[in-house]
């Protein structure tokens, strides 16, 4: 079960199982079982490497400590999303909005999407890495357009055109990396990240910097850095919530991980991280700034969550640009955001089911009408806004206190922007959750909400986010992230 490719085969088998001639209920059960089994298998592959630091490799796939960390995060988010997706599909079938054929498409692309993300983070071969990254776009495009409304199809169009263009520019960057390796006579190793890292000192710095610029613009589009973020609020707000949970919670991190790998190579070649840090600091600050203003005027709660993802990617980039201790904080932040954001998107999906609208003004009295969803959404939001003891509190505390010593002016600006974001999101959430009900007809009696799989997914995500926060209060938790970040800094 610990063979590096085992979870990949399981995910593929689960995708194929969607087409077995069985009832919808059985198909959903198979899907949930297959998804959870694949994620467990991924954990079996990742955890030993995560603890020992000894990489395992098979062909073009190489699972080192950072890859195993990313595989684990993908597995956790995918497991949470599969719980919510099972509930989403059952609800859609009941309402008649999802046909069995649509359900098969959903399951197929869900599993292929997870498979693509695992491949992207575990790929050592540059071409495979690029193909996997582009596949994450290709496997999710039809999921973005899943509800077939005008808005969803518009979002899917922008998503595929902008992301594919970005990733295609990223391909230029990949080709430039290969060119630098060929120029240094690395031979058969020219196509692998590990050999580029190992022999970075002998590569042409000029070529690497050109490659980094193209990778940063191309893959940065996928990360959602401002100003290449324009597809993100549309796609994340129109996609079915379990998929939004994965897009926001982990896909952005997968793309971010690729940039970190590229940064490491360029920094090793130049002997300093100053040049690449400037990119991360600039785009990071921009990506926190724009959402902070939009949050104050945002009228759509799913778009609000999507802009929050842009902000968190910006914070991570800012932290990485600060230096080694910033990268340590960014790694914690990545995990905290990956755990809290899916809970919120799944909660947003539940509110959409209940109220039939994503407009903040149309949603009132959630805590009264759907108490479990409302309370979990509120706690999840507190976790996302870095209320202690959330893992995000620890990461933001470290990044800002370190930032005040490295980039005091930028850090003060970032802190001011974070206050604006906190205010904007909290104001909207309080209006939706706690203000009195509208005259809309109710589908549930007050306070009668029963536990469902979506609530379970929210609860697990939130518990893990706070548990991580507690773990970071102790030395072993911090040591784990320190070791992880040491592999990503010079």
């Amino acid at each position: 079960m610990s063979h590096p490719l085992f979870p990949f085969f399981l995910a593929l088998a689960s995708a194929a199982a969607a087409f077995l001639p069985i009832s919808s209920a059985a198909r959903r059960r198979n899907f949930l079982f297959g998804a959870l089994l694949s994620c467990t298998a991924a954990a079996f592959v990742a955890v030993p490497v995560l603890l020992s630091g000894t990489p395992s490799a098979w062909g073009p796939v190489r699972v080192d400590r950072f890859a195993s960390y990313m595989i684990s995060l993908v597995a956790i988010v995918a497991a949470l999303a599969s719980l919510a997706a099972t509930h989403y599909l059952a609800h859609g079938q009941k309402k008649g909005t999802i046909t069995p054929a649509n359900e098969k498409t959903f399951i197929l692309f869900f599993m292929l999407f997870v498979l693509s993300m695992w491949t992207a983070v575990a790929a050592d071969n540059l071409a495979l890495l690029w193909i996997a990254l582009e596949s994450t776009t290709l496997t999710t495009t039809l999921l973005v357009a899943f509800d077939r409304s005008r808005g969803a199809v518009e979002a899917a169009w922008k998503y595929i055109v902008i992301c594919s263009t970005g990733i295609t520019l990223g391909l230029l960057g990949v080709l430039m990396l290969i060119h630098s390796a060929v120029g240094a006579n690395l031979g058969a190793g020219a196509l692998t990240l590990s050999s580029l890292s190992a022999y970075a000192g002998s590569l042409s710095l000029d070529t690497l910097r050109w490659a980094f610029v193209f990778l940063f613009i191309g893959v940065g589009t996928k990360v959602g850095f401002v100003p290449m973020h324009t597809w993100l609020p549309d796609a994340h707000s129109k996609t079915p919530s379990p998929i939004s949970a994965m897009l926001s919670g982990i896909l952005l991190n997968v793309a971010f991980a690729v940039l970190l790998r590229a940064k490491l190579i360029v920094d090793a070649a130049s002997g300093s991280s100053g040049w690449t840090d400037t990119f991360f600091l600039t785009f990071g600050t921009l990506s926190v700034a724009l959402p902070s203003f939009i949050m104050l005027v945002q009228k759509n709660y799913k778009r609000m969550l999507a802009y929050s993802s842009v902000e968190h990617m910006g914070l991570m980039a800012f932290a990485v640009g600060l230096g080694p201790l910033g990268t340590f904080a960014a790694m914690m932040h990545m995990a905290g955001h990956a755990l809290a954001k899916p809970a919120l998107f799944v909660g947003a999906g539940e509110m959409l089911h209940e109220y039939g609208s994503t407009r903040i003004a149309d949603v009132r009295g959630v805590v009264e009408r759907r108490p479990k969803t409302g309370v979990l959404f509120f706690i999840g939001l507190l976790a996302l806004l870095a209320a202690p003891p959330s893992a995000l509190f620890m990461s933001e505390y470290i990044m800002t206190s370190y930032g005040l010593t490295r980039q005091p002016l930028l850090t003060v600006i970032i802190l001011a922007l974070l206050v604006m974001i906190g205010f904007g999101m909290m104001r909207s959430a309080i209006e939706m959750l706690f203000s009195s009900e509208t005259a809309e007809p109710r589908t549930h009696a007050t306070g009668s909400e029963r536990w469902n799989l979506a609530n379970v997914a929210m609860l697990i995500g939130i518990i893990l986010c706070f548990a991580l926060g507690f773990a970071l209060l102790n030395a072993p938790g911090r040591d784990f992230f320190m070791t992880l970040s040491r592999n990503l800094t010079r």
Partner: protein, 216 residues
């Protein structure tokens, strides 16, 4: 005629037909210009295969010609005929200003490419210039054009430019890698076609200006 001269002519023809595609405001002109550009690039790759004595490149050239010069244009034309798509395409600029903008852009990016570290090792050097020019033309088409089809075509031109770049700067990119990238991009184009078909169904137009439902 010597093979290197033939290759130079084919590379020039690839660029010229891409520029023609950028200015085309009629559906069939655009599709034919793109198909011609893809055909010339495919023949160029076959020429390289001969020049470099690399038989696997013949297979790549044949696959690229079949996919990009024949199948994709045929599928797009058939889908457009079926959907009753307008034969008149939409752009923010008329053809003459488009050509001027593209000429300026090509001048800038080729000047940059000549100063880049890739110029020294590019083989042949003119292919590097053709490649960066095509990437720029593709990007310009995606920005300037206002209809779904032209934007997809812009992406295709850009993708041809990147393929040309790989031939210019990396001599021995493994065949499977080239093929994998080509197939991935082709699948992306098929998906773009599918989504653009749905946009046309729901919005009743190919004009991307109509896609304004999602705002903050």
């Amino acid at each position: 005629m010597h093979i290197t001269l033939i290759n130079a002519i084919l590379a020039g023809a690839t660029l010229a037909t891409s520029i023609r595609a950028a200015g085309a405001l009629r559906f069939h002109t655009l599709v034919r210009s793109y198909a011609a550009s893809a055909l010339f690039l495919g023949l160029f790759v076959a020429g390289l295969a001969f020049e470099r004595n690399a038989p696997e490149l013949y297979l790549l050239a044949a696959t690229a010609i079949a996919l990009k010069a024949l199948i994709i244009p045929a599928v797009i034309t058939r889908a457009a005929d079926r959907a009753g798509m307008s034969m008149r395409l939409s752009s923010t600029l008329r053809p003459a200003p488009t050509y001027i903008v593209i000429t300026v852009l090509i001048t800038v990016v080729t000047a940059m490419a000549l100063r880049s570290p890739f110029a020294a090792g590019a083989d042949p050097e003119y292919l590097l210039l053709v490649a960066v020019a095509m990437v720029m033309i593709g990007l310009a088409m995606m920005v300037l054009r206002r209809d779904l089809l032209s934007q997809v075509m812009g992406f295709l031109v850009m993708e041809n430019g990147i393929a040309a770049f790989s031939f210019a700067v990396i001599r021995d990119l493994p065949f499977l890698v080239e093929l994998g990238i080509l197939m991935t991009l082709t699948f992306g184009i098929v998906l773009m076609g599918t989504v653009s078909g749905r946009v046309r169904e729901l919005y009743g137009t190919e004009n991307t200006q109509a896609l304004n439902e999602l705002t903050d």
